[in-house]
């Protein structure tokens, strides 16, 4: 590039670098530990419902969902997808699931980790942890692995009620009670499987650290409501992993998240934005186009600042858990808050779009967004289902337009960055137009 020396359009917080370096280090350590024979479970992302228990048991968690993204990025996913197809699994299923199925089938044939597997591959686990949260794939997929892995499986439950149903007297506590009972069952399962008892003191410490780390991360993201917004979505995605997949010494991560908070606080006080001329404040749903992230730099040059994004990756809104003595109840309330924390507002607004779509209404209002970039994925229904609903409701309720750009989680070529940039200019006209309408109709932004 000719303008190599040109200032980057997105100004990345300095504290992001050591935080990310630590996340990568922890990941590498985990790979090493697993390869050295540390007991391993293949886990679905579970939003802290099972992670603290797994950590306290001294088990290393491997996340095949992430490994799907790794295989896609390293260009080996296609081989595994094709294998899944020839095993007779429908080709319309989740790309990450098909990747793991193909990988596991191949590992099964070879009796060892396939040589082409990136980052040392995923060694055979001792158990599989499915999750009932968000999509059916997240337990059906692991159940389907029974074809290749004679290892037991547990599925953690997570209630996902409708808005009004959750607000009925007693409903919330019943959901928590259910989660706690199931977590007790899960602990029993692990104790029987590994022949050792759970270290409750350790669980206490780990879960408190997770809660604290997420609190800081939440406060950090709250700072982004400022104008100009001090942190761009790119840094959110870079840093979120530490909270979403807690691992290693959490105290170190807490310190690093805190450093990031302090830096952003300073930026806010000095009115320093993540981009120089913040013209359009944007939200993004859901999974980013990992392979084309530099599109955000080009959009930043046009004044697009992505100020909030991907609700499912966001930490729960803080709640007071200090009076909850049972650590399992604390974990359940914490995790459940992640899902249900928006219900109060939804109920007030009389909006029934459900837990997956509604958060964007709060996002757009609280972060004063001018537009939304929505990213439907051809093989991830869960991240796609609700996007048209969001597009329509954001317009109906708040006169905020959305642009849709299709992509996929494993077929990375599907995302057409050139086309998005081509349409960006027209979309700006639309955002300008609706900004004017919002002003006339008395909206705050």
């Amino acid at each position: 590039m000719a303008d190599e020396k040109k200032k980057k359009a997105i100004s990345r917080p300095k504290a992001m670098y050591p935080l990310r370096a630590r996340i990568d280090e922890v990941y590498q350590n985990s790979i090493k530990a697993v390869q050295a024979g540390k007991p391993t479970g293949w886990c679905m992302v579970n939003w802290w419902e099972a992670d603290p228990i797994i950590m306290a048991m001294g088990i290393e968690a491997v996340y095949p969902e992430n490994y799907g993204a790794v295989c896609a990025a390293k260009g080996v996913a296609q081989k595994y997808l094709e294998r899944s197809d020839s095993e007779g699994f429908p080709s319309h299923m989740c790309g990450y699931a098909r990747n793991t199925i193909g990988y596991t089938a191949r590992m099964n044939d070879l009796g060892r980790i396939p040589e082409e597997a990136p980052m040392g591959g995923m060694p055979k686990p001792l158990f599989l942890l499915g999750s009932g949260a968000l999509c059916d794939t997240r337990f059906k997929w692991f159940q389907a692995l029974g074809r290749y892995l004679d290892v037991p499986m547990w599925t953690v439950e997570m209630p996902q009620p409708g808005v009004r149903e959750e607000m009925m007297p007693g409903a919330h506590d019943r959901n928590i009670k259910f989660m706690v009972k199931e977590l007790r069952g899960f602990i029993g399962f692990l104790e029987r499987l590994f022949g050792k008892k759970l270290d409750w003191a350790k669980l206490e410490e780990i879960s408190n650290d997770i809660i604290e780390m997420n609190r800081i991360w939440h406060e950090t993201n709250e700072l982004r409501k400022a104008r100009p917004s001090p942190m761009h979505s790119r840094d959110f995605w870079t840093c979120m992993t530490g909270c979403l997949y807690p691992a290693g010494d959490l105290k170190v991560l807490i310190k690093l998240y805190n450093d990031l908070y302090i830096e952003l606080k300073e930026r806010v006080d000095k009115k320093i934005g993540a981009i120089e001329n913040e013209k359009y404040r944007m939200t993004f749903a859901e999974l980013p186009p990992w392979h084309s992230l530099n599109i955000f730099d080009t959009l930043a040059e046009r004044g697009w600042n992505f100020v909030v994004e991907s609700w499912a990756y966001h930490p729960p809104k803080p709640i007071d858990l200090s009076k909850v003595s049972d650590p399992l109840e604390r974990i359940a309330r914490f995790t459940y808050q992640w899902l249900s924390g928006y219900y109060q507002n939804a109920m007030k607004a009389k909006e029934w779009w459900g837990f997956f779509a509604y958060p964007y209404m709060d996002f757009v209002k609280d972060y004063q967004c001018d537009g939304a970039l929505l990213h439907p994925l051809i093989t991830c229904r869960t991240a796609t289902n609700h996007l048209y609903l969001i597009q329509d409701r954001l317009m109906q309720t708040m006169k905020v337009p959305s642009m849709i750009a299709e992509g996929d989680i494993v077929d990375l070529k599907l995302f057409d960055a050139v086309d998005v940039l081509r349409r960006a200019e027209t979309f700006e006209e639309s955002m300008d137009h609706y900004k004017e309408i919002r002003r006339k109709e008395g909206f705050e932004w």
């Binding site: 997929w141 389907a144 409708g162 149903e165 959901n175 289902n385």
Partner: protein, 390 residues
């Protein structure tokens, strides 16, 4: 007022052709018609309050035009079609709806339906994923909330007695349906697959008592019927995602096969187990809807919390009822059917085929996309499958 002059299968045909007609008549007589999507809403509780549960279906023959704006093309086409009909006003006679977390997209459809379609009453049942005792107890709690909202909506008390009475009526329907399925055991069967799906669909369109009368008439008619289905060379079982139109089954039966058994939700699934009568009726209902109904949307282990796994044992705990069906109905082959984009059935297919292979039962997998035009190409597959069995 309707003159119910037609009886038995003729009446079934009449309802199948225009299934909302009777519901609209009942509405005019002051009955509340409540729609339900999928088979997880607990319809006994509607019957107990003298409301009419009316199952929401799609229409394979109707192009989807309105649902595209709020539910993308990469999800279950049946749910898209159902929502499309809702958005087009075809279900406007419904007083309200009960929907559930039967699967992920069913849940999303419930929220979208509630957002766009005005209704006087809605309830959403967040059916758990596992069959664990805690999950059963949780579902029972959800049904208690369901009861409260129903009482508030109707202004009537939903007592245990009323509920028990309703459960008995629905259990009677289950028993009568099983008797119908008994008549599919002879060769040739006394009722065809096409007639059966039309019958089941009719039952899901009228009050339970009316359905029971229809079933009794049909049973009497079948036992003396002169125009029984023709005997074909092959007897088939159909497993899979929802089929709510007779056209796919017509293709099977126009070929050299009798469809004699099914494991689908417009078929055996809601009818093959009775609801147990428990002191607290909600307990029996929770057990039935979570444990008895065998849809792959539920996660099942061969034993609770098992710490070792054996694939064949796992398969046999999940699917042995299918080989029992195959044995009892003397089935020559099984058609596995998963609608395109149906995750819960799709993930199941290789496992089910492994199980059937281990039992020496031949199967074929079809993945239609819920359009009439997709049925043509299926015909060749079905006929070729029948030829391999011959």
């Amino acid at each position: 007022m309707t003159e119910k002059t037609k009886k038995g299968l003729a009446r079934v045909e009449e309802i199948y052709e225009d299934r909302s007609k009777r519901a609209i008549e009942l509405k005019e007589q002051g009955k509340k018609i409540i729609g339900y999507l999928c088979i997880y809403p607990v319809i006994e509780m509607l019957t107990a309050l003298d409301m009419v549960p009316f199952r929401i279906f799609g229409d394979i023959k109707e192009p989807i035009t309105k649902a595209d704006a709020c539910l993308p093309t990469v999800v279950c086409p049946f749910l898209r079609s159902s929502l499309d009909l809702g958005l087009k006003g075809r279900y406007n006679f419904l007083e309200g709806t009960v929907m559930s977390h039967a699967c992920e997209v069913c849940e999303k459809t419930a929220h979208i339906w509630k957002t766009y379609i005005e209704q006087k009453y809605t309830f959403f049942i967040d059916v758990p994923h596992t069959v664990h005792e805690a999950a059963q107890e949780h579902l029972k709690g959800l049904l208690e909330d369901f009861r409260k909202t129903l009482e508030a909506f109707t202004g009537k008390d939903l007592s245990n007695d009323k509920l028990t009475k309703a459960i008995k009526l629905h259990n009677e329907q289950r028993k009568l349906v099983r008797e119908i399925y008994e008549l599919r055991k002879p060769n040739p069967p006394l009722i065809s697959g096409v007639e059966t799906i039309k019958l089941i669909k009719s039952l899901m369109s009228v009050p339970v008592e009316e359905g029971n009368d229809i079933l009794k008439d049909v049973l009497a008619e079948l036992k003396n019927r002169k125009n029984a289905p023709q005997k074909k060379s092959i007897r088939l079982l159909l497993w899979g995602s929802i089929i709510d139109d007779a056209s796919l089954i017509e293709i099977i039966e126009n070929a050299d096969a009798n469809l004699v058994m099914d494991d689908t939700c417009v078929g055996t699934r809601p009818y093959f187990d009775d609801v147990k009568l428990t002191a607290d009726p909600l307990e029996g209902l929770a057990y039935h809807y979570l444990v008895d109904i065998k849809c792959p949307r539920t996660f099942r282990e061969s034993e609770y919390g098992e710490t070792s796994k054996n694939y064949m044992k796992d398969l046999s705990s999940r699917f042995s009822y299918l080989s029992d069906y195959a044995r009892d109905w003397k089935v020559d082959g099984i058609i596995l059917h998963s609608l395109r984009f149906c995750d819960i059935h799709g993930y199941e297919v290789p496992a089910i085929r492994d199980f059937l292979d281990s039992k020496g039962i031949k199967s074929i997998y079809l993945e239609p996309d819920y359009t009439e035009s997709a049925l043509g190409p299926l015909r060749t597959r079905i006929e070729a499958f029948i030829e391999t069995l011959g």
